[in-house]
Symmetry: D2
């Protein structure tokens, strides 16, 4: 068996674990070292570090401290890795921690992060998803069961100083255009609850003050939340610092394209079994700016879909110019309306779109002024027939079950 | 064999054909009538009505008159269809006209429509794609061959007066925010080259002045340019007028998600074999706003991909807020840089992304401030090995062939 | 458009067409010549040459003259092809003849050919399948619709004299072990209704007396009836004579693995668009004995199945030793019993297994004394839910429709 | 986490474990009881009970005691199950035992079981396959790597007395037709090394003398060796005794259709996570004789193949009548010859066909006198390009590595 190089103890705070960090900074010391060609296991906390519990009360989602996210395991040093190399990461397997055989999905309160449809679902809600081997289902969302397309929502290498500065300055510039917005336009460096791995003392404080938040995806990959970056994938990451400094976390049992619920996919603690290797000078050889990856030969084959279209006219009827974000939102809202006809509440339908392996396609981006996006809902995840027929929909759910909601205080 | 209800003669101007129109307006008389349950064939012009020729000169793309687009065949009346019904359209087959066994792809000049990457490719270029049964290849883009995922770029029902007015007013409002922009923010009603089917005289002139352009996708579907809306699909269209008034055109032999080259996919003249039926009162039964469809059981199974990530930081380094359009543009630019390492020119790489069955996924839309989009490039369409290796890329092309360019005059 | 090199007139007897033949013999003159790299079209009769009609009477199936089969179009000469080469045939497209937009399936009388389940279905029956673009359905078998996986049941190159002699002698040896058997153990050369293409006079008579029947698959490919050898495939055929002499016919709109109904798949007249090329000396380079092929990138993706097992204990309870033929027969019989629970007659169920894209897998061939075979029945071809549930099957069919039967005279 | 109801200790003989047995007999006491709807884990030995070691010496394969096989875990009692019910088994997950992260494949000596190609590979050989997460590769077979399609080779319910008697009598009848054959025609009851679970004393001895060997698949399923009966499947088993008595074992990490190497697939010890339920009276409701199953939504998508044809003319040139076994053997031999052109030894090629997810299709079974079978070899499992080209094959292997062989003593 491959060795476990980084372990996590879910009964302990991630802040007690020196091989964990929650900010990006080149000064974070490498936690462990491996050779190119090695394969090994890495354990991770769930992204919130255990803030969300397996119960029927969404108060923990409402009250989550987002300054803590995301707890990453690493950085892993790869011997011989130098800036300009490509780090090859092959995901050989991923799984849940035995002691946490479930995951959570939720919508943040609009006052604390919000989400893609926060105008429609402004208060905190939470659903719990149990894992049954390779499948998942939820006591809060009856009638659906999915095979997991397990993946790390967040994985990438440490930035160098120059890249870190660039991230901070461009995000600050955006933030400053509307500093009072809720939710904010960007998550800027913040020392609150910063965890800088093995870094201590003044160096730690300085790095915490500068360290980029882990929230957005960036040039190094990071929090891409790509559902297809799953076990069996081979990923090519740009290297910026000696040793590469690969970190990862934010495991998802299953997610839809867009991770529209934000909190998030089906979030879980777990482990990855990975193999690393190098393409020396690969960044210039292949002209790479962001990571490139090859998909897995094993993925759930949900091949029958209902496909919902959306265009870039928003809910108020206002026309936007080729705005795919607006178009995808409309496609999602259209799917939610459809699912409600079968008895789901809006929140349940939203949770399905956030957790099931739905596809979100950029279908047309040139036909002024409307972008067209499509939301692909797999029909085989439902216990009942979700397709259209001449007789109209048959209600499958009686409305007795809903996703717990925790009103803003 | 199914009857051909609408024929087109490619040697004649579409304006001579009363069963063709290029504007959306409720007053356009229904061209033909069918019963629910009927199947039949409809021929169509290419979207430009024959303006682009099979030669090595892009002047026709540069000089295209966009006021003419799109020439649609219809409107087809379906007996018994009433506002609020869903019109089921099953695409039983699609093909090219025997006398035009080729298609074209191009980039418009930035001064005349532009495209997704118009800042990078500001001048008109054109590639010609020959059809070899179910495959296509181009003398201007060596090294690739695709199986066609043939589809109508544009299909939908006539709007009623209320919907037409809504379209016109919201698009006008957007246009007015920057009326001098090139390309414009919206294509407003324009009598130049308007073709209103059987409508004549004053009624024709009035409708031409009000008729919505066919450029954008809208509530009725229309110019969605969804590559997966291909033969074998079943589509459910909202009906707004008695008889439904279904029109279609803008056939594509193959296209990538986004139709990023705008002119367009691999554009062709051809025919569709369709079957129609009704779900009475289906709009309210299923809560439908935009069309819904089920994908075909037969599609090209290109299952191995290189997946390129892009985030919503634009080419200048400016940070945008969850802008999927910017993110997808970066993913496309990343793929183009990659393909150039194998010897393709930028224009050839752009043409591949516009014409091959690439997927564009909305991968993350909540991780502020960056959206993440992915561009999936199928590896099996290339005659050579396009994957990454330790030795770096091997140039497959010697640069002797490029896509013809017609400089702005 | 590609040229049609061989045309057939379905209103005329195939015996009037010199570019058609129904025996394999090296002396049959090449009908047309092409160059390596050429693509072109070839029309074909249905395998019986039009003996079966679109009506509700199976008498034509009962009375079919099997000495006539199979009418092949060719042989096509490929310039430069020599014995020992591999002939590459790419199937660019296949379709039905416009004037015959339907096909037939049947079971022969046990007295005239029989079939896989002839003990269970000893008399002639026939179903007619209409083509609706890429789909087919039958007025004799309600409740199913398939996308076609169109393919030539029969394609291959002329044998040389040595190979012909080998075929004739080994098949004669088998036949002689039970010469009175009905149906016979092998179809030996037979001058009755032999059609030798352009060959005339004594040479014709001599070749007709020696010519191998087209019934079995052999080293050259021939009547393989492989459902996956469909449009989009690339096939590598051994060449035995100068010019290769490629012939083809027996087109099928759709077929299950095994072609268990024998008459046959959904049999049709039609055309192929193919491209040919050569690998010089390919037979020894690659150690090829029988043809090798690569599957198409476009095939129907029926991915959900009910899988029926069968073992090599026959219907009487007798144990056979690792006999896959017996095992597959049991799997088929098991599927038929299952389908009868939903209201199908046995004959309808048998017709479905013969015509739908069912898979037949050799699942275990070493576990003495039982072979295990599996029959994969796609669930998505049914208009209703064919899966198992706690409540038991719901009859979908009322038994009012069956497949016409023509009793033996 | 689900409870592990049956554990195995690989360092102990399976004969010390009362929840294991290696014969089928209705008198074997149920090992554990569960309720319908329960999910739980079951551990299993490898099929030989640990006789084969991870080394480079095939002597253990040569000297294997086949009277021991197969060690099954069970029988599991399901409360309420009665004869005539269908037992639903959902395979939620399968994995290797941590302490045995490898598997073996081998060919038995012809004198001790042989295999599908025993005439060509008459002596014992063995290859060891290491597991790397979801992938496997072998130090004895360079150049290939597969994603596992893990499955139990053997699973089924206890027979009742009547079924047991039927098995024994029909297999004895076959055996008696050639009692001296090596390998034998059937594996008859044999007390040597029989392990009857909890059964003790005279009852044990009597049952051991009557108990059916586990070698062949039978009506109850049993040793079907169906590669697609993998994690994610749902299987419907006939129930013959009160409590059903479900047993399972013979786990495979990966296998080709036919399990042609007999010893066997990639054989492993491991665990299954399953869920059970009942369809009362399901046998008659659905007309079930052998198990039926639905495939998993997650399987390796190896979609590009080289497909080899074989016909029922054997290696000596003798014609057989519609014998799929002979035809598949020819297809396999054809694939082996092809692979040798790339540098593999025959034994390596044979091992690949036995362990990789190759498909074996029954392609034509009615075209007298030849059956046609096809062997589908996935091209993406190879580290190099295995496809045909004009230049001929390039040797990838230098012949320095082969599969260990242990000559007969």
């Amino acid at each position: 068996m491959a060795d476990t190089l980084i372990s996590v103890d879910l009964s302990e705070s991630p802040h007690t674990n020196e091989n964990v960090h929650n900010r990006w900074h080149p000064d974070i010391p490498l936690a462990v070292w491996v050779e190119p060609g090695d394969d090994f296991k890495i354990e991770t906390y769930d992204w919130t570090g255990g803030q969300i519990k397996n119960n029927d009360d969404a108060a923990d989602v409402r009250d989550v401290e987002l300054e803590q996210v995301h707890y990453l395991s690493g950085p892993i040093g790869v011997k011989g890795a130098e800036p300009g190399d490509l780090l090859i990461v092959e995901i050989l397997d991923i799984g849940a921690k035995e002691e946490m055989n479930w995951g959570f999905n939720g919508f943040f309160s609009k006052q604390n992060g919000g989400g893609f449809l926060t105008e429609h679902f402004p208060e905190a809600q939470k659903s719990i998803w149990d894992f049954h081997g390779m499948f998942t289902s939820s006591r809060h969302v009856p009638g659906v069961k999915y095979a997991g397309l397990i993946h790390p929502g967040l994985i990438g290498c440490l930035p160098d100083r120059k890249m870190l500065d660039m991230w901070n300055s461009r995000e600050k510039a955006l933030f400053d255009t509307n500093p009072d917005r809720t939710p904010p336009l960007a998550a800027l460096p913040n020392t609150q609850s910063a965890h800088m791995g093995k870094l201590k003392g003044d160096e730690r404080d300085k790095a915490a003050a500068e360290g980029a938040r882990t929230v957005p995806p960036r040039e190094h990959g990071g929090n891409c939340d790509i559902k297809d970056l799953s076990r069996g994938c081979k990923i090519y990451f740009p290297v910026y610092v000696d040793g590469a400094g690969l970190s990862m976390g934010d495991l998802h049992f299953s997610q839809g394209d867009g991770e529209i619920t934000f909190c998030g996919a089906i979030e879980m603690a777990g482990w990855l079994h990975i193999k690393v290797d190098l393409i020396k000078d690969g960044v210039s050889k292949y002209g790479v700016k962001n990571p490139i990856f090859k998909p897995s030969p094993i993925t759930p084959k949900y091949d029958d879909y209902l496909i919902f279209e959306g265009i870039s006219v928003d809910e108020t009827g206002t026309q936007h110019y080729l705005d795919v974000h607006v178009a995808y939102r409309q496609a999602c809202l259209n799917a939610i309306e459809y699912l409600k006809k079968f008895g789901y509440t809006g929140a349940q339908a939203y949770a399905i779109l956030g957790t099931a392996p739905v596809q979100g396609h950029i279908s047309g981006v040139v036909d002024i002024p409307n972008a067209c996006a499509t939301l692909w809902l797999p029909t085989d995840i439902f216990d009942f027939d979700i397709k259209l027929g001449k007789d109209g929909p048959k209600k499958y759910l009686d409305g007795s079950i809903d996703i717990p909601l925790a009103p803003d205080l």
